[in-house]
């Protein structure tokens, strides 16, 4: 929002143009509309392609365990946490254990 208003002396660009282009929406509005429609169509297509898997319930883990939406192999090989090597998992065998 603005501290100025359309009737303000320094805000002249909001006055009606002297030409006849006030009968149609400005070009930037049409571009916005086209982009908005394209994005909306893309979102709808993604929703249909996901067969209803999109939405809040998609992220919520199931009662018998979390949803496996992100396969382990897809995860990057290094962490962003920079906390050194990942902690060993509880069920993993210690590296020094004998066979």
């Amino acid at each position: 929002m603005s501290e100025e208003h359309p009737a303000g002396a320094r805000q002249t660009h909001d006055r009606l143009p002297a030409g006849g282009d006030d009968a149609h929406a400005p070009r930037w509005v049409r571009v916005f509309g086209i982009v908005g429609i394209a994005v909306a169509v893309a979102v709808v297509l993604i929703l249909f392609a996901g067969q209803g898997q999109h939405g809040p319930g998609r992220h919520v883990p199931a009662s018998d365990g979390p949803s496996v939406e992100r396969p382990e192999q897809d995860r990057p090989g290094h962490g962003l946490d920079q906390g050194g090597p990942a902690a060993p998992e509880p069920h993993s065998r210690p590296s020094g254990a004998r066979e």
């Binding site: 929002m1 603005s2 501290e3 208003h5 359309p6 009737a7 805000q11 660009h13 909001d14 009606l16 143009p17 006030d22 929406a25 400005p26 930037w28 509005v29 916005f32 809040p56 998609r58 992220h59 919520v60 883990p61 365990g65 979390p66 949803s67 496996v68 939406e69 992100r70 382990e72 995860r75 990057p76 290094h78 962490g79 962003l80 946490d81 906390g83 050194g84 990942a86 902690a87 998992e89 509880p90």
Partner: protein, 169 residues
């Protein structure tokens, strides 16, 4: 009702503050979202999800609602109006979409944080928790677009705005 200059400046300062805070909070959330998704250390992943929930509940949602409310108040309380200029209408629509998606996503974020905070959640399950970065990145993009619109205020009167302008002449 048109606000007087002192009240208008106060409303503008409030609107700019909460809107800028909203963008900053989303950026902080997005950083945590990426860390929660790509992190490897269990403690970091747990902390990231919990912090995401706290930021969403106590910073992003209040700031988003305040930004929407102060924006509408600014439009209605000044000669700009709410439906006269395309940039205001588009800003209102985009902000409303962002707020609705945020409110729909909030239970998901809370659920993820509860799962991450649960000591019974195994490391493997913890690492398989999804992120919400698509929504947060999309939300940030919308906020940047709205902010740009509000700064540049591109010209263009709506049909209603043209009619009101003609009537006032």
């Amino acid at each position: 009702m048109t606000m007087g200059p002192p009240l208008r400046r106060l409303a503008l300062a409030t609107h700019v503050t909460v809107s800028g805070g909203w963008i900053g909070a989303v950026i902080a959330y997005l950083v945590l979202d990426v860390v929660a998704t790509a992190g490897r250390t269990p403690g970091t992943i747990r902390a990231a999800y919990i912090a995401m929930s706290l930021i969403a509940s106590w910073a992003i949602v209040p700031l988003a609602l305040a930004s929407l409310a102060t924006g509408i108040g600014m439009a209605l309380g000044t000669p700009w109006g709410l439906w006269r200029h395309y940039w205001i209408v588009i800003s209102l629509v985009l902000t409303s979409i962002a707020v609705v998606v945020l409110l729909l996503e909030l239970p998901v974020i809370t659920s993820l944080a509860q799962t991450a905070a649960d000591p019974g959640t195994s490391v493997q399950d913890l690492r398989s928790l999804p992120g919400t970065w698509v929504h947060s990145a999309g939300g940030l993009l919308i906020l940047v677009v709205v902010n740009t619109l509000n700064v540049y205020k591109p010209r263009g009167l709506t049909r209603y705005g043209r009619k009101r302008t003609r009537d006032q002449r």
